[in-house]
Symmetry: C2
DNA sequence: TACAAGTGTCTGAATATGCGGACACTACTA
DNA sequence: TAGTAGTGTCCGCATATTCAGACACTTGTA
């Protein structure tokens, strides 16, 4: 279990979300192009998303959550490893 | 009944995020106006956010996560049980 | 009744956004 | 060397977004 403690990412902003996304994508051996196809999003967008360079509204969501002492988490579906 | 599972919300889209946000806001006895002030977001925006009527980028995030079998969760900071 | 608080919703405008496509760069391999 | 795969990044554009303010409605209370 200690091997993959990173199965859960707390999202603090666009950057940490991007890092989590990339982490999981690589772990699954999926390319950006494949993920783009699977998600319906564009590869260039995914690229920027992973790098946190897009000003996605994730920022607003985090702001709202923070003000309520909430946190946003990304993790594998079904949960724990 | 079982007004307990509120410690963790799985986000499937803008609507469920809005529901979670409202749930926690009310639980804290905070008004939209107060949350707006605390978060720096606008009250009208928060109102639509809670109702899931805004097309916030949460949709894109969920799309990306779904394609990777990930889930997004909102919960109190510190992860109270 | 009168008043206030809380919320939903509308309009208008300025801005940011994702898309689409393209090119460059870096491994890696035949 | 030539070719391929994967990724970062840029531009232009049509669109969606948030903000700002206002009004209406409901509920509770004096």
């Amino acid at each position: 279990m200690s091997a993959n403690v990173d199965t859960e990412y707390v999202i603090r902003g666009p950057q940490s979300f991007g890092m989590a996304l990339r982490e999981f994508r690589l772990r699954r051996g999926v390319t950006q192009a494949e993920l783009a196809k699977a998600s319906g999003l564009h590869r260039s967008y995914l690229s920027e998303l992973e790098r946190g360079s897009t000003t996605d509204a994730m920022r607003y969501l985090v702001l709202a959550c923070r003000a309520l002492d909430l946190e946003i988490v990304v993790r594998p579906r079904g949960g724990t490893a």
